[in-house]
């Protein structure tokens, strides 16, 4: 039982700052600046009300959610066939291609700021959701391919062969037989794609200005003449944590099994 | 060197068992005598591994006691029980050499290095591992790894019993017999109590002096391979031992014996009395294929059966017969003539077993013991 204490301390370490944010989100600015209280003395939902009623706030969430979903769908769609190819076949340049994909994960986003800005502007995609979704693909697709390939390699080739003998065409086999078998792999991949895309700020902010402004950008730009609106900022922060918690609740079983990326 | 006694033992994996199905081990009393080589034989899922883990202390029984030399060891951890266990899956410490692997338990005990050295050399010699001593454990073949696992059990001099949990499962068939012989050798040399779990009856009979057959969480018979063959005390033992297994036919009592369909099988008076006195739901007779007597020529008092199929297996043949609806298998020596169409057979009285509710009914009353063999006293 002594093992539990360090773990509890660590969990406390993780939860206290989040609690503090939650705490602040239910206070008015005057209470926040007036003094330190562990619980809100004047519990208020005003901050949340601001976010839900002020379009400049809630569109931030909608924008973020939109491009994150786009990114996850695109990444999965292109990564699935590619991962299958890496898993089942050898082909010219396969190892090099795989390695090149992984190196993209190692590129600092800062390096791409200006080039992306110019690239997406030049094709008229600046300040669109698809621009951010595509930009994030640079990092998410290699990861998706890597994770999915690991899971797919766990499915024996005999299943493919049996399906062909039974008369399935490749697309039908892939959709009806193969994909259900790697269900938890897809869950894990979607989780990671979501995770990276939802949290990334630099590229998302650089490629957007008004129409596709993500919530992260909205939050970093809330300094008004009267100073920072701490209460609203805290509420906004809390609301960005919720989607993550929901996602992980849904994939919790898959993540427990599949966090190994199928490779460990 | 220890006598292992199991008293009133039962185990359930669920914390609130509601019925016998929840028990992996049902009510059991058993003694493994010191220095013996025993096999624990049974099909998958009958509770063998559970029993082994209870003996070694890896599992705590939900009920009952485990005693070593009369001392209760229920509360002793595996470390304190002086037991070695070899698992199905070869466990070696990959980062260490074979030498270090064998030395590992001794180092944990704090033994002097010089003594460790001699001990390891000794065991390596017994197991033919000398040439591999400086090799990395991760680079060994499966049977070499398994030998190292066994070696770790043997190297300790305080070991009173070694438990083997189907250790030859991952070994190549042509290497299995070699290792089996090795184990027998070790047993003769070291005189340690050894319990060997397996689902292979051949392995069990070659290794063990006495075999405990386990079925449904209970030891249904404990005896020498010959006893198991000639007098199976449970229909499962009859079926499991022997190739092919014992023929079993469901019967009803009739005047003079038992019978089914149009067949009447006479039994001794004593046996008829036993049947009448005992309470049972199902009655069966069993006879081994080897013991059914096939007459060379038609014989009036013999039973008539239809010959369905003949299998020639070289040194013997297996006949499949139909005795008025009951399928029978008979084993014929190669020089005996094979009946065609109709076979004349009889069941010698000494080999015809009667089973009430799967357990053997014995006609003689031996002293004061009840002759109905069920759970061990």
């Amino acid at each position: 039982m002594k093992k539990v204490i360090p773990l509890l301390i660590y969990i406390l370490f993780l939860l206290v700052p989040i609690y503090w944010l939650l705490n602040m989100s239910f206070k008015s600015n005057s209470e926040i600046l007036g003094g330190l209280t562990l619980f809100p003395q004047d519990f208020t939902l005003a901050n949340y009300k601001v976010i839900f009623t002020d379009p400049s706030w809630y569109t931030g969430y909608i924008n973020s959610a939109y491009y994150v979903s786009l990114n996850t769908i695109i990444s999965l769609t292109v990564a699935l066939p590619a991962a299958y190819a890496f898993s089942r076949y050898r082909f010219l340049g396969d190892k090099h291609l795989f390695f090149w994909l992984l190196t993209n994960r190692m590129a600092p986003p800062a390096v791409f700021l200006l080039p992306f800005f110019q690239l997406y502007s030049s094709i008229g995609l600046f300040d669109t959701h698809i621009a951010v979704a595509l930009a994030h693909c640079l990092f998410n697709v290699p990861l998706a391919v890597w994770i999915l390939e690991g899971f797919m390699s766990g499915v024996p080739k005999e299943i493919d062969e049996t399906a062909y003998i039974d008369g399935y065409s490749f697309p039908k086999f892939f959709v009806k037989i193969f994909i259900p078998l790697i269900g938890s792999g897809i869950g894990v991949t979607a989780f990671f794609c979501f995770m990276f895309s939802w949290v990334e700020l630099l590229l998302a902010r650089t490629l957007t200005s008004v129409n596709a402004k993500p919530i992260a950008a909205v939050m970093t730009r809330t300094v008004s003449a009267s100073g920072i609106d701490w209460g609203v900022l805290a509420a906004a922060g809390v609301l960005t944590i919720l989607p993550g918690m929901l996602v992980i609740w849904f994939v919790r079983n898959h993540v427990a099994k599949g966090f190994a990326l199928g490779r460990v | 060197m220890a006598e292992i006694r199991l008293q009133n033992l039962a185990h359930s994996y669920t914390s609130t068992p509601s019925g016998p199905e929840d028990y992996a081990i049902r009510q059991m009393d058993h003694i493994w005598e010191q220095g013996g080589a025993y096999a624990l034989l049974g099909p998958s899922g009958c509770g063998k591994s559970t029993l082994l883990n209870i003996i070694s202390g890896l599992l705590s029984p939900s009920q009952g006691h485990v005693l070593f030399d009369g001392k209760a060891v229920n509360n002793l951890t595996p470390e304190k029980r002086n037991i070695a266990q070899v698992f199905q899956f070869p466990v070696v410490y990959d980062t260490m050499t074979v030498f270090d692997n064998l030395a590992f338990p001794l180092r944990n005990q704090g033994m002097a290095e010089a003594k460790i050295h001699t001990k390891v050399q000794e065991i390596a010699e017994v197991l033919d591992l000398q040439s591999l001593l400086s090799k990395k454990a991760s680079n060994l073949t499966a049977d070499e790894k398994q030998k190292v696992s066994m070696g770790r059990g043997l190297v300790r001099d305080d070991v009173s019993a070694i438990l083997f949990d189907e250790p030859l499962t991952v070994i190549d068939p042509h290497l299995k017999w070699k290792l089996r012989r090795k184990l027998k050798q070790i047993h003769e040399q070291f005189n340690i109590t050894m319990v060997y779990v397996t689902h292979d009856q051949l392995e069990a009979s070659t290794f063990a002096d006495k075999i405990a057959v386990m079925y449904g969480g209970q030891i249904v018979q404990f005896g020498t391979p010959r006893e198991l063959f000639e007098r199976p005390s449970h229909t499962f033992v009859g079926y499991f031992i022997g190739s092919p297994g014992m023929n079993l036919i469901k019967v009803e009592p009739q005047p003079g014996g038992v019978g089914f369909a149009s067949i009447h099988l006479p039994l001794s008076e004593a046996m008829q009395k036993r049947i009448a006195e005992s309470e049972w739901h199902t009655l069966k007779v069993g006879i081994r294929p080897e013991f059914i007597h096939v007459w060379d020529e038609p014989f009036d008092d013999a039973l008539r059966a239809q010959v369905v199929h003949v299998e020639d297996l070289g040194t013997y043949k297996i006949l499949t017969l139909n005795l008025d609806g009951a399928p029978l298998k008979v084993r014929l020596a190669e020089d005996k003539p094979v009946p065609e169409g109709t076979a004349y057979i009889s069941f010698p009285a000494q080999w015809l077993m009667v089973y009430a509710d799967e357990f053997l009914l014995e006609a003689q009353v031996l002293g004061e013991q009840t002759s109905e063999q069920g759970a061990q006293p």
Binding site: L33, L36, F91, L119, A216, I241, M245 | Q88
Partner: protein, 288 residues
């Protein structure tokens, strides 16, 4: 798996290839382009060869930033890897609590990076933050905005808070993959907890640790948002790491040439160190 040789597999890989090439190759070409040219405007561009590279590699501001970055990444690895392993060893493997602990551990990983910065920015302030106020009440002079040491400690603690869970979760899954038999055999062999860790758990964690070390190195080396939101890079330059320096150069000052040259050097450093880690860790495996 026995893979079949078939070049038609390229059709399956094509979408990925095109997408990533579009996102990677074109921008990279732009960067390379800028790194060897001096650009005043659309019409006047001059090829300057390796000039920018020379300038960048000799720039003391960059040296400082690089040094800070290396120190930062080193601290991160030294703290987070052992801590992650230790946490993984204490996590429950069965039962309801197992899922709960997993979820709690995963929460910091799912928070947008700017919010992470905001959380700690608030938390550390003496007026509105629990940490800041508590330290002040204990008489400790703590100000992450003005004091370099405080800023560094805060940024590191924030990173530990943010990312250790990743190491812990990876190690946890690695530990789960170890078959029970190993632990059973170790009990029979009377191995101490330390011996179990050293001879069973640690070796089996090798491949997972490799992933963890590489990910943490790469991500800490590229870090931008969290320190930027927390300290803005200050006080002064104290917590300005490479990404921020680069961003200042590229977007702030619009020094495209040097920024581009720097970008490539930056990328190459990461590739090189990652490769070194990879070889070191997989080599030690083969050599033993």
């Amino acid at each position: 798996m026995n893979k079949v040789q078939n070049n038609k597999a390229w059709w399956l890989v094509l979408p990925v290839f095109l997408l990533v090439a579009f996102s990677a190759v074109i921008p990279m070409m732009t960067v390379v382009n800028y790194s060897v040219q001096d650009i005043f405007d659309q019409s006047s561009r001059y090829f300057v060869g390796a000039d920018w590279y020379r300038q960048v590699l000799l720039d003391p501001r960059l040296h400082d930033s690089l040094l800070r970055q290396f120190i930062y990444s080193a601290c991160v690895l030294v703290i987070e890897i052992p801590l992650g392993i230790a946490i993984a060893l204490t996590m429950p493997t069965k039962g309801r609590w197992s899922s709960v602990v997993l979820i709690i551990l995963a929460i910091p990983l799912l928070i947008p990076w700017n919010v992470v910065g905001t959380i700690w920015q608030i938390f550390g302030r003496a007026d509105i933050g629990l940490l800041g106020a508590s330290l002040k009440a204990m008489g400790i002079n703590y100000n992450y905005a003005a004091n370099t040491m405080d800023a560094w400690v805060t940024v590191l603690v924030m990173d530990v808070w943010h990312w250790t869970s990743l190491v812990a979760l990876l190690c946890f899954s690695g530990l789960r993959a170890i078959p029970d038999v190993y632990y059973q055999a170790a009990r029979i062999d009377r191995a101490s907890a330390w011996a179990v860790f050293r001879h069973i758990q640690l070796p089996k964690l090798k491949s997972v640790l490799l992933i963890a070390v590489m990910l943490r190195f790469m991500d800490s080396f590229m870090i931008y948002t969290e320190p930027f939101v927390l300290t803005g890079g200050g006080p002064g330059n104290a917590t300005t790491f490479l990404s921020q320096t680069l961003t200042q150069m590229a977007i702030g000052q619009f020094d495209l040439g040097p920024a581009a040259a720097f970008s490539l050097v930056y990328f190459l450093i990461i590739l090189l160190v990652s490769w070194l880690f990879y070889t070191a860790m997989t080599h030690s495996d083969a050599n033993r």
